[in-house]
Symmetry: C2
Subunit: 78 residues, 2 copies
Amino acid sequence: MTTATFVHAGCPVCISAEQGLTQALDPGRYDIEVVHLGDRPEAIATAQAAGVRSVPALVIDGQVFHINHGADLADLTA
Amino acid sequence: MTTATFVHAGCPVCISAEQGLTQALDPGRYDIEVVHLGDRPEAIATAQAAGVRSVPALVIDGQVFHINHGADLADLTA
């Protein structure tokens, strides 16, 4: 199993993308980990190191997919 | 089966997102349709009507996910 990490910040754009996209992933191959940066601000640095620049974002096998646009990570740390 | 439509324009950002994301969808539930707007300019209007504003984009059940950013659709029609 591969972990697919969905990073969000609780915004409406994030929630909508999370529900629509993560449910479409193959549950036979992916464990979905949801990281809420609003609840876990200590995870912001980890997300940035992984290449996440805005939320919502999905990280699969080290590849970052920025989905639509809710907020820039830089704004979450401001 | 539901059709998941991946709309792109052949750009490197598009190809990368197509390969990384469509392969992660559940093949038991989704038929993947790939629409290359460079090859099929007549499909641009259809994509715009579906809510696609930039490529690459993935459309599942009427929900549009703009993935990273390759090009605005408006620039493809200019």
